[in-house]
Symmetry: D2
Subunit: 320 residues, 4 copies
């Protein structure tokens, strides 16, 4: 049982128990992504049976969920050249060619993204025990920048549709806000789906939160109450040796958090201490429909980030 009044102790205990510091050497920049080896990628590719393809990315759209908290706006996409100018002959190009170009300004966490290893610190320590102030300066993540993960994030994906299994069809396949997903719920989904989860897997947990936002409007989707993983799943996340986990929510873990005065305590354990790659703001709904229809919840998944040098929270383009 969690002592709601003492996040400090709970975090310290979990950090100690589930730390992977040093596991892949002093210079490691990949964390649990090290669990994805060539064999795992072969295993993943062999899961392609029908050949259908899904994007697991939400759109990057001005009408998105962000509300400006911590300067996180929705992306502002503007045009440098347009078809209207081309059509009206404003562009000055020869032989009838016209063009459109565009620009974007956006927080890297505005839509579907990975939390890089430099995104969260625990008492001033970044992944592998490094001092935070030497890892992420104003110039970006000088050590574990997301460019290091451009290639390897591809392998066997598993969907755990907790929304559907636990929330039930009656609940519209959605968990209510504030619902803490425990190891028991994860196991229930695993059993219901008849799928194994193990070393090197990329686990996608669908809560149904995005389905609700799609239906009811964004509301407080970004940062407000939401279903998500319980702090107590840290043990399972460590023990299973999964490579990555992604959810259809803003913040991966349950909100409000399970301590009286806290902010994303599970992040504090799993990112800097465990080195786990965490994905947020994914769209798992179409995939979930498909998995429910044929009963197969494992698949080939690629989810490389845009390699912005030094980025800590890059957009990715997950697709199965």
């Amino acid at each position: 049982m969690l002592d709601r009044t003492d996040p400090e102790s709970a975090i310290a205990a979990a950090a100690a128990a589930y730390s992977n510091w040093g596991r892949w050497g002093e210079d490691d920049v990949l964390g649990t992504v090290n669990f994805i080896d060539d064999a795992k990628r072969r295993e993943g590719a062999a899961l392609v049976r029908r050949g259908t393809s899904f994007s697991l990315s939400q759109r990057f759209d001005m009408n998105g969920p962000q509300k400006g908290w911590r300067r996180r706006t929705n992306p502002v996409h503007t045009m440098l050249d347009t078809g209207t100018d081309a059509a009206l002959g404003n562009q000055g190009f020869p032989h009838g060619i016209g063009g459109a170009d565009d620009v974007v300004s956006m927080p890297l966490q505005c839509s579907t993204q990975w939390d890089g290893l430099g995104h969260i610190f625990d008492h001033g320590r970044a992944w592998n025990g490094r001092p935070a102030e030497k890892v992420v300066t104003s110039e970006g993540d000088l050590v574990t920048g997301i460019e290091h993960m451009a290639a390897p994030v591809a392998g066997r994906g598993v969907l755990l549709d907790v929304g559907r299994v636990v929330g039930g069809v009656v609940g519209g396949g959605e968990l209510p806000d504030g619902f803490a997903i425990t190891e028991e719920h994860l196991r229930a989904a695993i059993d219901a789906h008849g799928v194994a989860v193990g070393r090197g897997d990329i686990v996608c947990v669908r809560t149904g939160h995005l389905s609700r936002a799609r239906r009811d409007g964004w509301g407080d989707y970004a940062g407000g109450p939401a279903p998500g993983l319980s702090f107590t799943t840290a043990s399972w996340l460590h023990r299973t040796e999964i490579a990555a986990i992604a959810t259809d929510t803003w913040g991966f873990e349950v909100r409000p958090n399970e301590f009286d005065d806290a902010f994303q305590p599970l992040h504090q354990v799993v990112i800097p201490n465990m080195g786990l790659l965490v994905g947020e703001l994914w769209d798992l709904d179409a995939l979930a429909e498909d998995c429910a229809a044929d009963g197969v919840h494992e698949f080939w998944l690629t989810a490389g980030p845009i390699p912005v040098t030094g980025a800590v929270a890059p957009p990715s383009t997950p697709s199965r």
Copy 2:
């Protein structure tokens, strides 16, 4: 033979000969990506033998090739929160958690990207014959925005290392600037590699231009003289029914262009008329080394774009 003085006629003839307007219906938003079907994706996935993974993306880096032409700068990546502030206790979070967030401002064509179907117009017409001014306005590409391509761009990739085959090991595996790659050169690479190219393939053409820039500095890599596809390859690009083509250069086609007064004439044929997906600024060097080592030039390739709503030239995260 091209008449260097008359790009208008050459473009008009090629546009007429190689148009795919209407081929996939009036409402089509995918162009040649329609050639990628489930069978092609199964074929691609079956090519995963060793399970090694390569990113084919250049970095998105302030020290990139862009020089400001047409307001195309390199990406400006800044931090909203840093490890230094976390370490110094400036962030005000509870229980020792600290965080780093980031923001990017960038032209979508600053680094590895696709040219979406709304990127180029021919005499005021966009892909499928639509009026450019109704397709791409100041609000972006309202019809063929890249969000439509988020899922399907995954399949069988083929590397044609023209730099190595034609440029030769003596030439350092690099074609000189201004070298126009013709169908003959493409065939020479196909023959040398012993690989087939056909319907639905994603063809990667390595010229060696990026290898040179990596060695000698960016110089005029963005927009200056470069090896690239000859205008005359339009026939081959159409006939083979490939789904997409990508190069390790800024502009896909040879520069200077093959007409006296011209700007990217092959773009004008293949994007609005043929509906071909064109990739630019890819990094094919590590992949090419690997292909040369084992003699296998076909592979599973995923290259979904970041689905910025209405984008015409989005970053992608190609990887094999």
Copy 3:
């Protein structure tokens, strides 16, 4: 009386009656700012009696009024270098020097600004009768860009504190939302203040809307209901030959607008047809306190815009 059902006719009549097209020649780029001559600036400077100085600018702040409508966000200000990094020795500079640099991404209309002459069109016509599509393209305002106004916007300012005069001290010096300020109200303020308004003046109209937002929170300050000038003041605005007018509201004119189905009809008359410089989002509260205290409502005012080449809606730094 306005016919609420027929904005088209009312606008057409006012545009015809109050047009200044051609008044300053075919090539004019200044509109009513032409009314500010050297004599007017001498007159303005002579009004400096005490030497106190007020900024009339709201802050450019992430916690501002914008809510994303038409991609108008609040400014996103980020640091390229910080004092924390300097203090921790992360910057690599010699002899103990450290630095901080910053970046901003913002819509030019996010806070205190001028509506440039290229900001509004009337049936495809920009100021002085020019075709809108030749004036403002994707490259900005090629003709009446705000850089032309960098120098001249300085002269005699007059505060008309309609909020205080008409709203009354009982009303907290604030006009209610939806209150249409008519010529009668402007005259009441002029009389109450004992100040003249005439050719070349820069008139500041305080409604109290910002005072309310400051007290109650931004709410719908940007784009929602607000006090503002009535459509019927077009005649007064033209007849007085003022150079510019600015308000403490988002949109200068009353909102909701005075027609059933309309959007900023007074803008459509005064910007493209009259060539009037309109300021929005100004902060007139401290100035108004001072004017009320000593009964003097005229002053020296400088309000040059940031000369972003081709800008249509630039930040300005008004101060008296």
Copy 4:
């Protein structure tokens, strides 16, 4: 004489000799701008004789001097709506109104600007002795942000046209790159102009560097060799009790700097220690022509910054 090998000692000595820490109290956020009082503003306003107006701002333009060093790009100005879209009926507004809106992304130091008091640190100390890491974090300058200077920067300006006086008409009124302006040169200009410089003045020093860039192209205008103030002028800058100083160069002080291994040592003395407001990238050419023509080198000057909350290096709109 400066010992070129020992910037540390020279800086330490100057910092000690010319420090204003504590001079205006512990909470001061204005530095030498405190020297501008109401009397000074009255004196300034009384200098308006002819009423002509000059902008002293360079344009904010994509074709500007910045080359990307330390992520300082030129401003990227893009349109949210255009006249072309308005003319083609793409905007969906009623009664024939159309509009243009715009956005800018820019480093605050890209063009004419002030160095705020939080822009430079000396051994981890900001203005008034405050610890740099508590003043400027990732959230901006929390103490001396430029918003505090929105009102007061207006007063008596003095142009010292050192380019013309020392460079000579033969030299085209330009000082060569690397020319260190000493107190002797400043005095020569003062004498030649017959103008006094004293407490509270805003001094504009024209070197002619911008005239050269205007004629020959930007080249290395931003950061390269340039005429500028000698390190030895720190004494004069302190003794005269001027409120601010601005130049027509990128970096205010002479470049290369006057020590073998150094970076902007005079900044390190005058900003954090003296609290002096320093302006850079100003355009003094038209003003200088006018001053030369009538022999009057003093004038009313307003130069308020755009009050971006927490900014350290804001654009300003200087005009006389």
